[in-house]
């Protein structure tokens, strides 16, 4: 409960994106259902999803709360009418665009396309604008598929940068809500480029955009198969890690989770530890504290405790619940690896306890660990301990390491000297051949 981030994240999410979060909370029963119902009702009132509002309205009445809503029937009529109008307007454009001749004639250049449409079909920028309006309206009504479609068409045609950006946001949201992760993933990449490239009126503005982006992208990254890598890559970029540090340190939880579940990116752990240490005064939760205990304080007891807490936190987190199992597994791996590196002789019972496992499981775990990783260790069954073989680098190894680069570096040196000589010789020759140019 204390580690629930929903309330912190809501300010950076779209209305519609909040619904899944709230529904998740309903399942987890962290808050009382009535509060959540009310929250959802409040939210829904601002949208045009009239069916949904009515349903919530009924639910609320069932729960014994009289919702303070306006006249729903009238609103339904209004919305339907507006929708029809918008659809009618947009249909004109759609008819043109869907014409195979037109599709064939369209090029890469947007301006040229616009000119072409205007000349041949009398299409004005205002008409294209209707696509955007319809898309927005449909989104507001909860018809995300349709909205995504409209916004796609709009983006192909429009040249307005500002609205294009909004359309892109809208499209991303629509795809997220439809659950179309592949397309959403692409939208994410596109949006990132746009945000990085666009010149915003102030750095603050850009920071804001990035903060939003980071929050929205969580939906995609934790659902897309390649999301883990992408998340780690993206969030460790200087601009984004700075954004996280400045405006939304709670994202560190997701970053930590992503790094820990990502076995291949172990080298990132160092950076992560640095950031967590740096930000520990601003944000801490069991997930970051686990890393802190393990890699800053080397306190394995504390790490063990935190790991138990992590389990609960992850269970209650909309994004992380799906990777909870993976996280715990990997976290154990990290613990045991660190443990093994520091220790020489380990009691299996003790280690199993540190990892929250029974003795048999622990033994199995260690065997697997020895098999899977490079850890050089043996189990002494009689004493029930693991013996680590210390692998100090031999002197020969050291010398090889030290002298490895020397010949290459010398070579580089020699070539650069040659180059320099040649350049000098050339310059001298040049001067000799053209003494007049100097004089002139």
């Amino acid at each position: 409960m204390t580690y629930d981030l929903t309330s912190r994240m809501i300010p950076f999410l779209d209305l519609h994106l909040v619904f899944p979060l709230l529904e998740f909370l309903l399942i987890e029963e962290l808050y009382t259902p009535v509060t959540l119902l009310e929250a959802r009702y409040e939210l829904a009132k601002k949208t045009n999803m009239i069916d949904f509002i009515e349903k919530l309205d009924d639910d609320l009445k069932d729960a014994g709360v009289i919702p303070a809503g306006g006249d729903l029937i009238k609103r339904r009529e209004d919305i339907l009418e507006q929708l029809q109008n918008a659809q009618f307007e947009a249909q004109k454009v759609m008819d043109v665009i869907e014409n195979p001749d037109v599709i064939a004639a369209l090029r890469q250049d947007k301006l040229q396309n616009l000119q072409f449409l205007k000349d041949n079909y009398g299409m004005t920028p205002e008409m294209i604008q209707t696509l955007y309006t319809l898309g927005q309206f449909q989104y507001s009504c909860g018809n995300y598929g349709g909205a995504a479609d409209m916004l796609y068409h709009y983006r192909v045609l429009s040249t307005d940068d500002n609205l294009n950006l909004s359309a892109l946001w809208g499209k991303l949201a629509s795809e997220i809500l439809v659950g179309n992760w592949e397309v959403a993933y692409e939208a994410i990449q596109e949006l990132k480029e746009t945000i990085d490239k666009t010149h915003f009126p102030s750095p603050l503005h850009q920071l804001e955009q990035r903060t939003w982006f980071i929050h929205w992208s969580l939906f995609v990254f934790f659902n897309h198969p390649k999301g883990g890598d992408a998340l780690v890559d993206l969030f460790f970029q200087p601009a984004y890690i700075n954004t996280i540090q400045t405006s939304c340190p709670w994202i560190l939880r997701y970053l930590t989770a992503a790094v820990i579940t990502n076995r291949r990116r172990k080298n990132l752990l160092k950076d992560l530890v640095k950031v967590i240490e740096h930000e520990s005064y601003q944000y801490r939760d069991p997930v970051t504290e686990f890393v802190e205990a393990l890699y800053i304080n080397f306190d394995f007891d504390l790490a063990k405790q935190k790991l138990i807490e992590c389990e609960k936190v992850l269970e209650g987190d909309f994004f992380l619940v799906s990777i909870q199992e993976e996280f715990i597994q990997n976290a154990r791996c990290f613990v045991s690896e660190t443990y093994c590196r520091i220790h020489q002789k380990i009691d299996i019972a003790e280690l199993s306890q540190t990892l929250n496992m029974s003795k048999e499981d622990g033994e199995k775990w260690i065997v697997n660990l020895i098999r899977d990783t490079r850890v050089d260790a043996k189990i002494d069954y009689q004493e029930n301990t693991v013996l680590m073989n210390t692998n100090t680098t031999s002197v020969y190894q050291q010398i090889i390491e030290r002298t490895k680069g020397l010949s290459f570096r010398s070579q580089v040196l020699a070539t650069s000297i040659d180059k320099r000589e040649a350049a000098q010789a050339k310059a001298i020759a040049h001067e000799k051949n053209h003494p007049s140019s100097e004089a002139a």
Partner: protein
């Protein structure tokens, strides 16, 4: 008259007539001044008998006689005292006339001695006015003589000059005691005489328990308008001041301003008269504006700062001016007003349009504040004068706040920013309770609608800074930011302060800023370091303090005194500029404490580092704090070192103890340092340091003894350093993890197993050879790089840029202008090289 004699002083028939008029005067006054005492007239009387010179008389008359019979019993004693003073004063006057300063000095001392004897009497009656007059005149004469003396072709003889100089010191010091009285006297010295000569009845002054400023003003008016005497001009002619010729006179004064032979005192006198006569707001504003400027016009004497009484006058008039402007919303004083043709007419606001008057209040504020700072720079901070002067800060602060309210009403952004900056600079370095006290104090000085006393320094500083961030120029924003950081650091909010530092990217540009801002930056940085230290973040503290404290030019970098360089190349001009930059004493950061903090941090970082060279000889080059190393070397080279005396010695002793892993001794030495008491909650600091010393002691012990053990029990380590087993394990684990120590922990038996590599002779040689070869290649590379400058430059930039972007980037500071810059450049160069080498090895 008879009453006077009835009292028992049955002498001096001959002088009777001389003071008869005075007696009537005194009698009439008796009715009003009930609390005053009679002593002065008595002493006059005695004086009259002995010396009987009218000229003298004029100066020594007083208006505070009374007829209290009970006091009169002790009269003879008083008479004797005052008589002595009188005599001395007369002799002093004579001495002045003939320019005999030796005698003046002795007489002055005599007068003061007598005065001291008469302390009891003075407590009742107040300081005799003739004395005040004498010393006031004396100061002026001393000043003028000194001025003359400077330009005079023929110098006076040595003893005389010496006496004069010492006289100057004495009188200055002395007069400060009677500042108020002298002021009163100086306000209209003529009045003293005039009053007496013409025997004017002075109406009782009625103290009004109103606002200070207003009552002052009214008092003057009430007094002088009522008595209706005619002041006498310079040439003895009667000068009339009235409504009609006010503007004419004013113009005369304005025109005379800055001319060669203008008598400034005379000008002030005229203006003061005019102020009395003026009764419309417009007239008053005009006169006050000129009056304030005239105060600033007075020549600054040898002291290098504005005369304090003049300063106080200026401040008072400025307050008056602001009061008038506050109560008359239709009059606005501002810069760049189109010149009015008929300057000599009274102007009234017409149909709601405000009257604009040419003048710059913000300039007055600036000047007033600067003069205040100047005086503090020049007064010896260890005297009571300094403290007295510092007390004026409250009223100065009040004027600033008041003018700020005025500018806010006018919505003059530039002036608001300038004044806000001034206000901020009076606040930012003070601890919370002081700020709150000052705020409450000014609340009682100013009308309630202007100030709301701030309850909390943090919010006050925050508000001021936010105003400046929004509206200020870029320089003001930078300075506000630095002040804000300083304040956060002062209030122990390290992370907030650090984040502000990093986010503002100040450090990238600070070396381009002017020197004063750089100094402010240094101050903020030092404060940040101290804050980190208080919070127990030794490493952060060290990196903050490194660039300032490590240079050995701390005084210069913080503008807290001129550093005495042996081969000073600074010209007198430079020195003068530098002197002007100095911060007044009360703003100083305690340098000894700073050094102590820096060295303690260095010790905690450097001692384990030195010990680690036993295991990793490569570390030898890595130096954390050069000054500390130098000191330690020097200390260990000493044949005999006695018990530590000063802070430095203590830290050195503690360092040595720590290096030998005798942590208790080390803690003892460190806690014995007295200066810790200057830090609030010094006990906690000492506890924190004790804890750190235990930890670092453990590390040092492991480093230096690892070679001689094959295993150590964790428990015995814990016991040895009085740490919990858990902490011990975690420290050892960390050392193992970052490969500082080649060891591992045996969990079953709880011992640290240390791994040793026994190298054969051949292997050692091979290693050394590899090392040499690497060094050879490296130096070759360096050589080439220096010969092809552009290439080196480029690679350097590349590595740095990528480094700086890192999230946990260390604060890298620039200190002073170009110098700091080049030095930084060289460091970066080395760093870049180091990187490339390491990269090559991988």
């Amino acid at each position: 008259m008879s009453r006077f004699f009835r009292a028992g002083e049955s002498d001096s028939d001959d002088t009777e007539s001389d003071y008869s008029d005075e007696l009537t005067n005194s009698e009439s006054e008796d009715q009003s001044d009930s609390d005053a005492s009679e002593s002065e007239s008595d002493s006059d009387d005695q004086q009259g008998k002995k010396i009987g010179r009218g000229r003298f008389f004029e100066g020594s008359l007083s208006d505070s006689d009374s007829e209290d019979d009970t006091v009169r019993v002790v009269r003879s004693a008083k008479d004797k005292r005052f008589e002595e003073i009188e005599q001395a004063v007369t002799a002093m006057n004579n001495g002045q006339k003939i320019n005999d300063w030796v005698s003046v000095q002795t007489e002055f001392d005599r007068a003061n001695k007598a005065l001291q004897k008469a302390v009891g009497i003075i407590a009742q009656t107040g300081v005799p006015k003739f004395y005040i007059k004498a010393v006031a005149e004396l100061e002026k004469t001393v000043q003028s003589t000194l001025d003359k003396e400077k330009s005079a072709a023929k110098k006076m003889n040595a003893s005389n000059a010496k006496a004069l100089n010492s006289m100057k010191q004495k009188i200055k010091k002395n007069n400060r005691l009677y500042e108020k009285d002298i002021q009163e006297y100086e306000k209209d010295p003529e009045n003293y005489d005039a009053e007496e000569e013409e025997a004017i009845e002075i109406k009782p002054k009625i103290k009004k328990p109103k606002k200070v400023v207003d009552s002052d003003l009214e008092e003057e008016e009430g007094e002088e308008v009522d008595d209706g005497f005619t002041p006498v001009g310079a040439g003895g002619k009667t000068v009339e001041f009235n409504q009609e010729n006010l503007f004419k006179k004013l113009r005369e004064v304005v025109d005379a301003r800055g001319k060669k032979n203008t008598n400034r005192e005379e000008q002030v006198r005229i203006l003061e008269r005019l102020l009395v006569v003026a009764n419309t707001p417009y007239q008053k504003i005009r006169v006050l504006l000129n009056l304030i400027s005239t105060q600033f016009d007075f020549a600054v004497g040898l002291s290098g700062y504005m005369n304090i009484s003049l300063w106080k006058n200026a401040e008072k008039y400025l307050n008056n001016l602001l009061a008038i402007l506050e109560s008359n919303n239709d009059y606005i004083v501002k810069e760049n007003v189109p010149e009015e043709d008929d300057n000599d007419k009274d102007r009234l606001p017409q149909n709601g349009e405000a009257v604009f008057i040419q003048g710059s209040i913000v300039a007055f504020i600036d000047r007033l504040d600067e003069e205040f700072t100047k005086s503090l720079q020049n007064i010896d901070p260890h005297t009571t004068d300094y403290v007295d002067r510092l007390k004026d800060e409250v009223s100065l602060y009040a004027v600033i706040v008041r003018s700020l309210a005025y500018f806010n009403r006018l919505d003059a952004t530039d002036a608001i920013c300038r004044t806000t900056m001034r206000r901020l600079e009076h606040v930012y370095f003070k601890p919370n309770n002081v700020v709150v006290a000052v705020e409450n104090a000014i609340a009682s000085l100013l009308p309630a609608d202007i100030v709301k006393p701030s309850e909390d320094a943090t919010s006050l500083v925050h508000d001021l800074c936010v105003d400046l961030y929004k509206n200020g120029s870029s320089l003001q924003r930078t300075r506000a930011m630095l002040c804000h950081i300083y304040h956060h650091a002062l209030e122990n909010r390290f992370f907030v302060a650090r984040d502000m530092f990093l986010m503002s990217h100040l450090q990238d540009t600070i070396h381009l800023a002017d020197i004063i801002t750089q100094i402010l930056h240094n101050r903020a940085m030092v404060q940040l370091g101290m804050c980190a230290f208080r919070a127990g973040m030794i490493k952060e503290a060290h990196s903050c303090l490194q660039d300032i404290s490590g240079t050995g030019r701390v005084k210069e970098l913080l503008a807290q005194g001129l550093s005495l360089q042996r081969h000073s190349t600074a010209s007198p001009d430079q020195e003068k500029i530098e002197r002007q930059r100095q911060f007044p004493f009360h703003m100083h950061i305690n340098l000894e404490l700073l050094e102590c903090v820096y060295l303690t941090c260095s010790m905690l970082l450097e001692i384990p580092n030195i010990a680690s060279t036993a295991i990793n000889p490569e570390n030898r080059k890595k130096m954390i704090s050069k000054p500390f190393r130098r000191m330690l070397d020097y200390n260990s080279r000493q044949v005999f070192s006695g018990p530590p005396e000063n802070t430095r010695d203590h830290i050195m002793a503690a360092s040595k103890a720590l290096a030998n892993a005798e942590w208790q001794k080390s803690v003892e030495w460190i806690s014995a340092i007295k200066i810790w008491d200057l830090i609030p909650e010094s006990r906690k600091i000492k506890e924190m340091l004790g804890h750190k010393i235990q930890e670092e002691g453990l590390r040092t012990y492991l480093f230096s003894n690892a070679n001689y053990y094959s295993s150590i029990s964790l428990e015995s380590l814990a016991k040895m350093f009085d740490l919990s087993l858990r902490t011990t394990t975690s420290i050892v684990a960390k050392m193992v993890w970052i490969e500082e120590l080649s060891a591992s922990i045996d969990q079953v038996t709880n011992i640290v197993v240390l791994h040793h590599l026994q190298l054969t002779r051949l292997q050692t040689l091979a290693l050394a050879f590899a090392e040499k070869a690497a060094g050879f290649v490296e130096s070759n590379e360096k050589l080439l790089e220096t010969k092809t400058p552009q290439q080196g430059e480029r690679s350097k930039k590349g590595t740095n840029a990528s480094k700086e972007q890192g999230p946990g980037k260390q604060q890298q500071q620039r200190t002073m202008g170009a110098r700091g810059n080049t030095r930084g450049g060289r460091n970066q160069f080395n760093k870049g090289l180091g990187n490339s080498v390491r990269g090559g090895r991988k």
